[in-house]
Symmetry: C2
Subunit: 235 residues, 2 copies
């Protein structure tokens, strides 16, 4: 069945096939182009990091950024779950963009349009200071382009208190659905229900200055230019 058919927990075809990433179902939905993987990772803002803790899965949202074929994650050195992701243990990082709700003539064929990347591997702590500072730069550019240049830089105390993990994109897969309704022929013939796609988009609204921001400031260009037409309409 599937009002959420595309999100059935199927496997996916891998960009770099291994037994773990070639689970076999709906292979036609796998994008074999590495550029698609990059575009998904570059567009989304958060990932879901899965680790095994005491034999059970734990999935938490976190920020990330891609640099070539490396994915960076970071967090406080004191975070238990970040520590659980280090030390050569297996992790899974999943990034999903929801693009639309697919309405079909039958309830069963309802679905979603989406793009999703799954990365398996073992994360390594970035210890070299130059590499770590580079990773922080990449992470900042992904979350808030322009802030690395605009805001006060990372000081020694802050630098020491953060951990950065690096995960290779070698074992990565991407899967997507980007099409209209896929109805049974009988249902199309019957013409008894509407069918189509309701697009889903993530938009940025008008920036809200900090309560204690001094009067001298207008919104800087690196922030203002992120506001989307849709977001501005929400005022």
């Amino acid at each position: 069945m599937g009002p959420l058919a595309c999100f059935r927990l199927k496997g996916m075809t891998s960009l770099s096939p291994t037994p773990r990433t070639s689970l076999g179902r709906k292979k036609h939905r796998a994008a074999t182009d590495r550029a698609t993987l990059y575009s998904v990772l570059d567009e989304a803002l958060i990932c879901h990091l899965g680790v095994v803790r005491d034999g059970a899965p734990l999935v938490l949202p976190t920020g990330y950024a891609r640099d070539g074929d490396t994915l960076y994650l970071h967090g406080s050195t004191g975070a238990a779950s970040l520590r659980a992701a280090t030390g050569g243990v297996d992790v899974c990082v999943t990034v999903t963009l929801l693009d639309g709700i697919v309405y079909c003539r039958s309830v069963n064929n309802h679905s979603m349009n989406y793009r999703s990347a799954v990365i398996l591997g073992r994360a390594e702590t970035v210890t070299d200071p130059d590499a770590k500072m580079h990773a922080l730069h990449v992470l900042t550019d992904h979350l808030s382009p322009g802030s690395w240049e605009h805001a006060r830089g990372v000081n020694a105390k802050e630098f020491a208190a953060v951990s950065v993990l690096a995960l290779d994109l070698a074992e990565a897969s991407v899967k997507l659905r980007a099409e209209g309704p896929d109805d049974e022929a009988d249902d199309v013939e019957a013409d008894a229900a509407w069918a189509g796609v309701l697009p889903v988009r993530t938009v940025f609204g008008e920036p809200e200055p900090a309560a204690d921001l001094s009067a001298k400031w207008t919104t800087p260009e690196h922030v203002a230019q992120r506001v989307t037409k849709e977001g501005a309409a929400a005022r």
Copy 2:
């Protein structure tokens, strides 16, 4: 450190504390009201389901819906990962809503506003036919309200080909950040950078009718009413 400070992989305070869901960090960010858990689950459209496969974590996006204190997930009976989530094994379901990018005077304090729910437990397959049909109704209402009444219903073959899992919300936690920049006093004093929040919203655009939709149809009200002002502006 934290351009993505709120997404550091910290623990969270549980609504129903257990050792697994009281990881101890940033407890002030935990919402202790069960209504907050419900609102996060009811607003989001997809979850990330974590399972352990061959000792390694696997995280996949899937649709879900809440009914009281039960979370339903569903998928094809043939999906390997869905099977991996059944049979009394531990699963983790995480639902995250991203609400804003928090720009601070320092790179280090950059953060995100978000709401996130984490549910731990063991999923059970819904086998009773009435309960299973009810779950499909709940799942459909969550993804596409009105479709259960509008579209052709689930037939026997389709009903047999879908699995529905139920996960109790007993061991659930919710965590959120919903505030402005949290800068160091020295940085506020220096007044050398802008600070504020860039709101992030998920919007629905104008419905796109199926290519093979007959000319008799206009967009039905249950679809049209989901279009958000922001989404309509994207035309």
